[in-house]
């Protein structure tokens, strides 16, 4: 059966978060343009074989975050917001940074250590390559 969203049980994140992420991704890559109509909650629940309540929760959060708008009796649509994909990329970056901070904490790194590591990582590669050669 064709479905726009797939759920993984090996993924430890709750199912509604997986749905949110995949819909955000669809919007970010431009598959779903502003005004695009989303499947109804019940239809997506049937297609992905998860409960209606789970899809409902995902849609509510997407609505709250301004990714989609729901018009009573008409359905849910991708919000008319041109900056959406940039905003999503920022959110994605924040998520990666939080994950990095988490690993840093496990390794016992201070916030400064972590910031330095990030600064190193942000160096363009061409800057680094000649530098190492000079030393050698």
């Amino acid at each position: 059966m064709h479905s726009d969203v797939t759920i993984s049980h090996a993924d430890r994140r709750p199912m509604y978060l997986q749905i949110i992420e995949q819909i955000r991704h669809r919007v970010a890559v431009g598959d779903w343009k502003p005004g695009h109509e989303l499947p109804s909650i019940r239809a997506l629940a049937v297609a992905t074989q998860v409960s209606v309540i789970t899809v409902k929760r995902a849609y509510l959060e997407l609505e709250r975050d301004g990714v989609i708008v729901t018009r009573q009796g008409k359905g849910s649509f991708v919000a008319e917001n041109v900056d959406l994909s940039t905003q999503l990329k920022h959110e994605e970056l924040d998520e990666h940074l939080r994950a990095a901070a988490e690993i840093g904490r496990h390794l016992g790194l201070s916030a400064d250590d972590l910031a330095n590591r990030l600064r190193d990582a942000a160096q363009p590669p061409d800057d680094e390559a000649p530098g190492t050669e000079d030393v050698a």
């Binding site: 629940a45 074989q49 409960s51 209606v52």
Partner: protein, 298 residues
């Protein structure tokens, strides 16, 4: 149609060695209720009371708006019931059973029955006795589904099935939900099945309901915290914490109603919250049963 599909209050049923006590259930149309419990918890007995196969000692049982067992004849026209102990005729074929059930139920959907035969990879000319357990379960479910009943009462429909058969059955159950007037109550020991397709979840243990709520609330409330506890630090005892196990400087706390305040309380006491983990429905179920048994002892 705001009438509840199932409405049970104060249901009691006593046997010599087992009793159901104060069972309360509510299921809205368009929803799936997953009934989870260990062996002997009372899942089957409760479902049999809903079907009026067993009569309650006390309590109000309404199914599709009908009072059970009094109005069972009317209610049962719209209920599809399936359980382990249901027997098909071994010598008769699937086609024979389909014809038989169709003759009893005018709303039998012939086209849907054909579709289900294909989806379940069943051959109508096969006699029941040559079918595997999985095929027999699917054949039984086909006979129930093709009547398109408004309420499905399924007692362990996926137990003992291989992953493919389980998937096929779960797909049909979610498919039913495309019609928002239909409802399903199913029991299972497979918490993953329940977590996937249920809107409402009820945990049953030793004849009592130990927790019941919508799935998202369930999964959202429970957390497990990994804590680092320096020597000399005593962890506070919080009402939200159901269990703490300590090993050296590391402790794991199971929380039944997590808020950031719980983590803050541990931090104030001098512990470090290393990780806040979500729990699977299976982990929540086990923690819940342990908690309710502990409370019953004290």
């Amino acid at each position: 149609m705001s009438e509840l599909a199932i409405q049970v209050a104060g249901l009691d049923k006593a046997y010599r060695f087992f009793q159901l006590r104060d069972i309360r259930l509510e299921l809205e149309p368009g929803q799936i209720l997953g009934f989870v419990g260990p062996n002997g918890a009372g899942k089957s007995t409760t479902i049999r009371v809903l079907m009026a196969l067993v009569h309650q000692d006390r309590g109000d049982v309404r199914v599709l708006g009908r009072s059970m067992p009094r109005e069972q004849a009317i209610a049962k026209r719209d209920i599809g019931y399936m359980s382990e102990d249901m027997r098909l005729y071994g010598g008769a074929t699937i086609a024979w059973h389909m014809k038989f059930v169709a003759s009893l139920h005018p709303q039998w959907d012939h086209d849907y029955a054909q579709t289900l035969l294909r989806r379940f990879s069943l051959r109508p000319e096969q006699p029941i006795k040559v079918l595997s357990h999985g095929e027999r379960t699917k054949a039984t479910l086909l006979l129930v589904l093709a009547r398109r009943p408004r309420l499905l009462l399924l007692d362990e429909p996926t137990t003992g099935l291989d992953p493919v058969a389980r998937h096929e059955i779960l797909r049909e159950l979610t498919d039913v939900m495309s019609d928002d007037r239909r409802s399903i109550l199913f029991s299972s020991q497979n918490t993953q099945d329940v977590e996937q397709i249920s809107d409402q979840i009820t945990f049953l243990d030793r004849g009592r309901i130990i927790e019941s709520s919508d799935k998202e609330t369930f999964v959202e409330r429970w957390r497990r915290l990994q804590l680092d506890v320096p020597p000399g630090v005593a962890l506070p005892s919080l009402p939200e914490v159901t269990e703490i196990s300590t090993s050296g400087r590391v402790a794991t706390a199971t929380i039944k109603a997590y808020t950031d305040e719980v983590a803050a309380a541990f931090t104030r006491a001098g512990a470090t919250v290393r990780e806040v983990q979500r729990m699977s429905l299976e982990e929540i179920f086990v923690a819940n049963v342990m908690l309710s048994r502990k409370e019953a002892r004290s």
